[in-house]
């Protein structure tokens, strides 16, 4: 139990220290313009599909998206046939079969996105000890959400500010807590070739993939907004009627 106490004490001390340090070192990320924020926000399907392309061709080399299944891509505007064809590009392990053997088969729309590494240890081993986080919920589990993702992806500096030494294998990033990030700058101009002819600048890449990741974190955002507006409209009318009722009921009561 003493170890548990020590653990807690050190956790608190260490955690609080880091938080203080990071709070002091990482300024608030700037807010970008998004189509999906606000009461009437909807995702831009073209941005989503370009963002998926960026994820698939760049991020997916290291980052898993465990919570997403191919069929979910209907949400970014892909048809059933497109999704089935896309899933087939991946081989997944299934089984055991009747002989008790595991076997490989082409992925189906119901399968999860294939993770680049079999487990976290393998992911760390291949990435200099740093774990490339799962991106399914990244827009929810980072302060600043998609604004943070955009800032991070565009926030690399080749030469760190004077007086800052970047450790071996690390990269300087203006927006990463502590500024030293294991991930090499993943995006650059023309990193992917957009099928729709959009000019593939660094900012465009970052914007599109941030939108895609925001969608992946909150795939029901559009349904939520649209239902929310109806609920609000209903509640405002209800509140008005109930207020009128209350006034009428109380009209003869002095209070």
């Amino acid at each position: 139990m003493r170890t548990a106490k020590l653990l807690i004490a050190s956790v608190l001390a260490f955690g609080l220290g880091i938080a203080a340090a990071s709070a002091a070192e990482t300024p608030k990320v700037p807010t970008q313009k998004w189509a999906h924020t606000g009461f009437f926000g909807t995702f831009d399907r073209a941005e989503l599909q370009r963002g998926y392309q960026v994820y698939k061709e760049v991020c997916a080399a290291c980052h898993a998206m465990h919570q997403i299944r191919f069929r979910n891509l209907a949400g970014i505007g892909l048809s059933e046939a497109e999704i089935a064809a896309l899933a087939k590009e991946y081989e997944v392990t299934d089984g055991p079969n009747d002989e008790g053997e595991m076997f490989q088969r082409p992925a189906r729309p119901a399968d999860r996105f294939k993770s680049p590494f079999p487990n976290q240890q393998a992911a760390r081993a291949a990435n200099g000890g740093a774990y490339p986080p799962d991106l399914s919920l990244i827009a929810k589990n980072r302060v600043g959400g998609e604004n943070y993702i955009y800032a991070l992806l565009t926030g690399y500096k080749e030469t760190p500010p004077a007086g800052v030494t970047v450790m071996e294998g690390m990269h300087y990033n203006e927006w990463f807590p502590g500024h030293q990030i294991g991930m090499a700058p993943p995006l650059s101009a023309d990193r992917v070739t957009y099928a729709d002819g959009t000019k593939a600048t660094l900012e465009q890449h970052a914007h599109d993939v941030s939108v895609f990741l925001a969608w992946a974190s909150s795939p029901h955002l559009e349904a939520r907004n649209s239902l929310g507006l109806k609920v609000m409209l209903f509640l405002f009318i209800l509140a008005g009627l109930l207020y009128a009722t209350k006034r009428k009921v109380w009209r003869n009561i002095k209070h």
Binding site: L12, F39, R224, K254
Partner: protein
């Protein structure tokens, strides 16, 4: 309480109602306690929050049952099952956001309800047991909310559970045994999650039971009121229905607008981003913080460098509420007639907000000092200011009756509930 002339509602004349009521007087109960129940005529909108709290309990139980139908209480499956609710279960995101934000709404409502009681002296004679039962509900709510926050098995779930359960290890001799017993093992793990789930499902029904006792105690002497004086006669009271059902219904609609804003347009602003990362015992979050509604108590916990001292202070901050009816020595209930207490009440509110801020910050530098000052103030409010105020404060004259200020007439004199004095 004033004698109230009971006239049965028309439905009581129905022959089936009569037949049932003769055997099980449930219709009499409804008619007496919900319809004709006499309530002071001057209750303001702050008296809505009791019924809102009751409604929130029902909302939480209902949404919680549907979540439980899709939840997998295991360390391997909890996080994914919650994500499945969010992504694949029909309207699962809605049920989850109702429940998740509902916890915050429940605490907002209950904190306002408690502060209303403090402002208008609702804890004083003859409502001490009513007040106690309220505190019991509050404590059970905190336990339920804490265990509920562990269930999604995110990073804050795990580390919050680790920190809070470890608090018990501060007690000498028995502490470490208690912690092992809570965990069901040697760390927060699968057995911990299982029992927290079981208790999280159980406690709301315990709360519902205590709520019934709370209502029972309430209905003995009836609601306090903004003037804090007892009803003198039938002119001071009006039947609960339709007056307060109408007023509560309007308040509910306004509250639901507030609630729905969070559910639909800002569903994760009240939580911590780290809880959307699956629990990992090997990676400590940068900054372990409880949910916002626990922050004041968290600040009290960290106000003293000694662990046992902090734990005792934190529990003391709640337990002291039980003594409030005797610590407040003034016989005047409502702060309306207590000019000095009114100031101290608002200072106490500020003190709680400062504690909340201090609890959200790392325990060092200015926030730590603020937290310590506010902790001292918190206890001084109950142990020093309230007892002394009763002796030194000169209350304003009380009206003769609840009806007098609105209806006029009656005696123009004051009731000698305390030393009546003219305005200083």
């Amino acid at each position: 309480m004033a004698k109230y002339d009971y006239v049965p509602s028309p439905f009581m004349a129905n022959s089936i109602v009569k037949w049932v009521d003769h055997r099980l007087p449930i219709f009499s109960l409804i008619d007496h306690e919900l319809i004709k129940y006499p309530a002071p005529r001057n209750l303001n909108y702050l008296w809505n929050f009791g019924s809102l709290a009751g409604i929130m309990l029902v909302v939480m139980i209902l949404s919680g049952i549907f979540l439980a139908m899709n939840y997998n209480p295991s360390t391997a499956g909890a996080f994914d099952s919650v994500e499945r609710i969010m992504r694949d279960v029909n309207y699962g995101w809605l049920i989850r956001y109702i429940h998740m934000n509902g916890a915050s709404m429940f605490f907002i409502v209950v904190y306002i309800h408690i502060l209303r009681g403090l402002y208008y002296g609702s804890y004083k004679y003859p409502r001490e047991i009513l007040w106690w039962l309220g505190i019991v509900i509050f404590i059970a709510m905190m336990a339920t909310a804490f265990m509920g926050y562990v269930l999604p098995w995110g990073q804050m779930s795990f580390w919050g559970a680790t920190v809070i359960t470890n608090l018990f290890s501060a007690f000498p001799i028995v502490g470490e045994h208690i912690v092992l017993w809570l965990w069901g093992g040697f760390s927060v793990d699968n057995p911990t999650l299982n029992r927290f789930f079981a208790l999280h499902y159980l406690l709301p029904f315990v709360i519902a039971g205590v709520v019934l006792l709370h209502l029972w105690a309430l209905h003995v002497h009836g609601s306090n009121n903004p003037l804090g004086i007892d009803a003198k006669g039938p002119q001071d009271k009006i039947p609960f229905h339709p007056y307060y059902t109408a007023k509560d219904a309007f308040g509910l609609a306004v509250f639901l607008i507030f609630y729905a804003y969070f559910v639909f347009f800002s569903p994760y602003s009240l939580g911590h981003p780290d809880n959307w990362i699956e629990a990992n015992p090997l990676v400590t979050p940068a900054h372990i913080v409880p949910e916002w509604y626990f922050l004041p108590f968290y600040a009290v916990l960290r106000a003293v460098p000694d662990k046992l001292g902090g734990v005792l202070l934190m529990f003391g901050a709640i337990v002291i509420l039980f003594l409030l009816p005797w610590l407040d020595t003034s016989r005047v209930r409502s702060a309306r007639f207590r000019p000095v207490y009114r100031v101290f009440f608002w200072l106490f509110v500020i003190c709680c907000l400062v504690l909340g801020y201090a609890g959200s910050q790392p325990a060092e530098g200015l926030p730590l000092i603020l937290g310590q000052v506010a902790t001292i103030w918190y206890f001084a409010h109950f142990l020093v200011f309230l007892p002394l105020l009763g002796w030194f404060e000169r209350p304003l004259p009380l009206p003769a009756s609840i009806a007098e200020p609105v209806l006029g007439g009656g005696k123009s004199g004051t009731v000698a509930a305390s030393k009546p004095m003219e305005k200083a």
